[in-house]
């Protein structure tokens, strides 16, 4: 008589354990938050929400106000562009030690520093930098620069470590100084990749820049907070629409530039 091969377990024990753990986490989360879900969906609550949302239409479109919004858009765009640009330069500088070019100790220290920079959210950096830079978009630019340096520095360092080392090491064998060899052989190899990362990060930063103003760092965020606190819903609606337009524009620009980089 033929023996059928024994059926393997439907779920491996390790996976089962993991799924159970996951389910526990999810249930514990909902339970501990103690959100009165039923209250959210009573007729009363729904009605007041709808009324609240109604207050947003039509968005304010008077000419002087639109000018202010345009100015806010320019401020936000500048914050994101400058912050990302500064981070690109600092990221390259910090990536050199972080990729081991100055020894293992420097690598460890620099990677730790970069991790700290990128773990703290941009909003928190903005709050801290407001003390040094005062209210306004400058603090926002710096906050974005600091946080993005952490992100890009780590990505750049990984790119440096993964690239083919031969061009750079050959230059150093032939008597070229390490920094010069870096600019002549390492950077040219990874520059398209670095720029691609940076452009992709710009998409994130335009969103971040838009909201940094909520804590006082200027731009559209500050306008939004201001109008919401005065219950000027229609103006707030315009600001939100402006945010969406700006985000879409930057997403598009970033995508187009990245396409040009890779097709070159």
């Amino acid at each position: 008589m033929q023996h059928l091969p024994s059926t393997p377990p439907i779920i491996k024990p390790a996976t089962l354990l993991f799924l159970v753990g996951l389910l526990t986490l999810v249930c514990a989360s909902f339970y501990s938050l103690d959100i009165q879900w039923s209250l959210l969906f009573t007729a009363d609550a729904v009605r007041s929400s709808v009324e609240f949302l109604r207050g947003f239409t039509p968005p304010a479109l008077t000419w002087p106000f639109l000018l202010k919004v345009a100015q806010g858009m320019l401020e936000t765009l500048s914050m994101s562009a400058l912050g990302t640009g500064i981070a690109f330069t600092c990221g390259i500088m910090l990536a050199m030690p972080a990729s081991g070019r100055f020894g293992a100790a420097a690598r460890w220290v620099m990677r730790l520093a970069l991790n700290i920079l990128r773990s703290v959210p941009e909003l928190v950096w903005a709050l801290i930098l407001l003390i040094a830079a005062g209210l306004g978009p400058f603090a926002g630019t710096l906050a974005l620069a600091v946080h993005t340096t952490g992100v890009l520095g780590r990505l750049f360092a990984d790119a440096l470590e993964n690239m083919p080392p031969a061009p750079e090491t050959t230059l150093r064998i032939n008597g070229v100084q390490p920094m010069t060899a870096f600019f002549y052989a390492a950077l040219p190899q990874i520059l398209p990749q670095l720029m691609s990362y940076t452009l992709y990060r710009w998409e994130n930063n335009i969103r971040a820049a838009a909201i940094l103003g909520i804590v006082g760092a200027g731009g559209l965020g500050q306008m939004l907070k201001y109008h919401l606190s005065l219950f000027q819903m229609q103006q707030a609606a315009s600001v939100i629409i402006a945010m969406l337009i700006l985000i879409t524009l930057v997403d598009g620009a970033s995508f187009w530039l990245r396409r040009r980089l890779t097709s070159h």
């Binding site: 031969a166 090491t169 050959t170 064998i173 032939n174 008597g175 070229v176 100084q177 010069t180 002549y184």
Partner: protein, 273 residues
């Protein structure tokens, strides 16, 4: 005297084989201006020997190694680095960044002579394009002066690597399989240019080749390596068929190793220098 080696042994740099020796008990002296060909089967240690001459690998204790009468491994790292500027190592795979322009890649041979700010400004606008042009013209590649390296063919890239050699101001050329991607005619022309340059400057030329006939036809001195040892070191006329057969005993004369960056197995990262 360009190079003097006495009882030099080199350990394998890669993690996998670090308990064995890549070069064993090498005794060698090469006079300034000599032209020497290195032949031997794959894995014999030709690349390791060239890297040793380039002051990349430190010999095991007990071996003596001097370059231009100096002891590189008894020097301060900065002095040793200055010594490296007098040696030019051309690896088997041209070490040219793909998206760089030929002019910058070739002028990189001048970097040891330039200050840092000169090097950086040359990236933006090449300092001595005429020098690069003249070097490329000797290989008939002058039209490629402003082209991108990754748009060149394999043979053209190899000759660009040689153009970098021409542009450098080294007193010794250490060249690893420079003709592997070239057809026979181009190979002869390229070799002639390199050898002529060595004669013009009275520079020492140590060249590893897998084309034994080329080596015998064009180099006055032939060194045969196998399994990390020097099997013979003779003038061209003294090399016999028997000696060659013994050298390639276990392996038929093969194509050179085509791995992407073979020298990576010798050079496993920045050494403290």
């Amino acid at each position: 005297m360009s190079f003097v080696l006495n009882g030099v042994s080199i350990r394998h740099a890669s993690v996998v084989r670090s308990n064995s020796l890549a070069l064993i008990d090498v005794d060698l002296s090469i006079k300034q201006g000599e032209q020497v060909a290195l032949i031997g089967p794959s894995g014999a240690g030709k690349t390791t020997l060239l890297h040793t001459l380039a002051c990349v690998h430190q010999p095991e204790p007990g071996g003596e190694f001097s370059v231009f009468g100096l002891q590189p491994w008894a020097m301060q790292p900065a002095q040793r680095h200055a010594l490296r500027a007098r040696l030019f190592l051309a690896p088997q795979t041209p070490p040219l960044p793909p998206r760089q322009r030929v002019v910058t890649a070739v002028l990189a041979g001048r970097l040891p002579q330039w200050r840092f700010w000169q090097a950086i400004t040359s990236l933006i606008k090449p300092r001595e394009p005429d020098v690069a042009y003249a070097a490329l013209a000797r290989f008939n590649l002058q039209d490629k002066l402003y082209a991108r390296v990754d748009r060149l063919s394999g043979g053209e890239r190899q000759r660009c690597g040689m153009a970098r050699l021409l542009v450098s101001k080294a007193d010794a050329f250490l060249v690893d399989e420079p003709l592997s991607a070239l057809d026979p005619t181009l190979a002869l022309q390229t070799l002639a240019v390199v050898q002529q340059e060595a004669v013009n400057r009275n520079a020492t030329l140590v060249c590893s080749l897998h084309q034994v006939e080329l080596a015998l036809d064009h180099f006055p001195r032939i060194i045969g390596l196998s399994d990390g040892r020097i099997v013979f070191d003779a003038q061209r006329d003294e090399v016999t068929e028997t000696m060659l057969a013994a050298l390639y005993r276990n392996t038929p004369p093969t194509e050179p190793t085509k791995s992407a960056y073979p020298e990576d197995t010798c050079w496993s990262g920045p050494s403290p220098c």
